[in-house]
Homo-oligomer: 418 residues x 2
């Protein structure tokens, strides 16, 4: 098949639908979301059986158990998917918001109005719930969306996409505002990310391999992060209870998330007091510790870290630990080995807290809080389409606002330029 | 020479300098700008003689007179350049501003802090004042800048770049925060725009050919607009005085700017009353009118417009004129032929004014005001690095804020995630 032509057709339909979406009122977009949620509810038996087919094929192809688990839907996961769509309907609509409308010396009033980006392309892997989650955010923000899910989830995704199209149609919006790519060839992805006339932004969701491939080929902007090598730095003035609680929580609350701490940095001045206690707690929780020589001297269970450990995003019960000589050394380490995702300082020193906030060049910087807070729900965005470590357009957790832009509005009463 | 390697060296120096720039206080950045302005003042004789050499070579190469005019510096132009740099020093510094810092249900406080983008690449043509203007905006916003001016202005640009480096050094900032590309080969541009490790964003300033070439080759984000095909639509309820004044001003106040009206749309209901008057005023001012048959029936001096006229950015005393059947037809015309730059409606009907603002998908939309207002100074940005018709990151006139991003800041008191 001709991938470029297929993408051009999808893109043309999405582009046309995006105009209707941009004009749609909040009420109509919410009606589409609630009707989509109802349609998923009504189609639950069809969705479960489509998903059984996907899972069966995945097992026949001997895909990894973790992948099969992410692929699988049960009633609880479908409940969560439906609830997620309804929650997006309940979020405030950013589109049309006018800010900073103020008179200028010329007499005109100038402000900025939030507008949708246009067409959003989502490229994701096995989890079929992304189809509903991501489409809901795009619909709410007045965008059209092209959904390119993993081939292993195609049957499940088809049912969900049908429900979205039904929901849109019931609200009087074009069903083509949420299109699923029906072909599972990889070449479709390359065609999609290199078609600026078809899509305005690509959001890849999945493993690092997918994101690297998409970024390399992309001719359209990409909202992404590659790694989450997050640091907690324990300063000399840290409250000991804070240090213990945050180090433990940032590592152990969940191991597989991008905002999990992967390296702990401890100021030499408090290392002998705090490191043995932190190391014991983490070891007891089953975390393998890999440390620098000074760390190992203080905690015998720590194995020797290699240079690669400082770069590692383990996504597992493993932690790299380093004793550093003060906050400059800590910030140098973060600048060199970090991924600009999320980094935290534990300190009671006001000046150092402020310096860390200002100087650490990451998408989230924290004082006396666990890196695990870095997500759209915790930040009050309601939901997130992804997390960006880039600086252009959106940085950090990206919610509805990141799926919009701002145009300038000017109000005059016959004003001309002198 | 090895262009890729040369760009990598420039990029590494810029990247290193950008860290110092990001940390620099407002006071230090302002000191660098004022010292740069002083250095240009002190080097005025050297700048004038370098510019004479550029102009002489340009004439020997028989370059277009318009280009030679843009290239030429005199005392008045140098005064304006120096004053421009001082004005940027007087603008508020966006960097470090924290907004929306608020408590979340978990007890943490979450907000957003403005941060520089990093390294900005400016690619421009003959006007040497861009060297000072653009560098000043980059320095003020805490970025490092790589300046790639036209080969015809190289002697002038060298003097200005030396002044910038002196100004930076006097304030204790790295002179490499503002580097001029010393080689004039075209291949440098291709190498620069495809080096994301060297530059974070490219701002091309110049003719459409330059911008198309840069956009086509770019592997880094580009802040740009291609065309300014701006429309004024005169609605049936327009105040006649507003309509006349705005149509006249939008076309004639300056012909060569991107926010000049290129097509006038008039509602059929008021065409017979207003079009003859507007056409006379414009004809008397020396504007050639090219119109649709209905326009020609009302104003005999109007010549027949072809399909190409609706797409044309004349940048000259020529105007396309069309009579349309109401605002839907006007908005359809703008959607089809426009360039998403700036479009205005003249109306006394509130509902139509609001619809136009909401539905016209341009970077600036106006009610009862001349399209000529679409620029950074008139909008209160103080200065602009360019105008963007894209939606990703910045849209419309781009000032200091468009050269920054936002990171998330989180303040806790030992908070961990539950």
């Amino acid at each position: 098949m001709d991938h470029v032509r297929y993408v051009a057709e999808l893109g043309l339909a999405a582009r046309t639908a995006s105009r209707a979406m941009a004009r749609a009122s909040t009420q109509v977009k919410n009606a589409a979301l609630l009707a989509s949620a109802d349609a998923i509810e009504a189609d639950r038996p069809a969705l479960l059986s489509a998903n059984r087919l996907d899972v069966q094929r995945a097992r026949e192809r001997a895909l990894e158990p973790a992948l099969v688990d992410r692929l699988m839907l049960d009633d609880a996961r479908i409940d969560a998917m439906i609830e997620g769509v309804r929650q997006v309907a309940a979020l405030p609509d950013p589109v049309g918001t006018v800010t900073d409308l103020a008179y200028r010396p010329s007499g005109i009033r100038v402000g900025r109005m939030r507008v949708p980006l246009g067409v959003v392309g989502i490229i994701y892997e096995s989890r079929p719930n992304v189809t509903a989650d991501a489409a809901a955010l795009c619909i709410k923000s007045g965008n059209a969306v092209i959904l390119r899910g993993g081939s292993e989830a195609i049957e499940s995704n088809r049912v969900i996409a049908r429900c979205l199209a039904q929901g849109l149609a019931r609200a009087g919006l074009p069903g083509t505002a949420a299109q699923l790519v029906m072909h599972t060839d990889r070449e479709i992805v390359s065609a999609l990310v290199s078609a600026p006339e078809a899509v305005d932004v690509i959001v890849p969701r999945g493993g690092k391999g997918l994101i690297e491939r998409v970024s390399r080929d992309a001719r359209v902007p990409v909202i992404k992060h590659l790694d989450g090598v997050c640091h907690v730095y324990i300063d000399a003035t840290a409250d000991a209870d804070h240090a213990l609680a945050i180090a433990f929580n940032a590592k152990t609350q969940r191991y597989g998330t991008c905002n999990t701490m992967e390296t702990l940095l401890v100021d030499e001045a408090v290392a002998s007091e705090l490191l043995p206690r932190i190391a014991s707690a983490l070891s007891e929780a089953g975390v393998e510790l890999r440390g620098c020589p000074r760390t190992r001297a203080l905690a015998p269970q720590v194995v020797a870290a290699t240079e690669e450990d400082w770069y590692a995003e383990y996504l597992a019960p493993i932690l790299a630990v380093r004793v550093v000589d003060g906050m400059d050394a800590a910030m140098d380490h973060i600048a060199r080995y970090g991924s600009q995702h999320t980094d935290a300082i534990v300190t009671q020193h006001h000046g150092r807290a402020m310096r860390f906030l200002r100087e650490v060049d990451s998408s989230s910087v924290m004082v006396n809080a666990s890196t695990r807070f870095a997500d759209g729900f915790e930040y009050g965005l309601g939901a997130e389409i992804g997390i960006s470590t880039d600086k252009f357009h959106a940085r950090g957790p990206v919610g509805l606002e990141g799926l919009t832009s701002q145009k300038w509005v000017v109000l005059g009463e016959g004003h001309v330029r002198g």
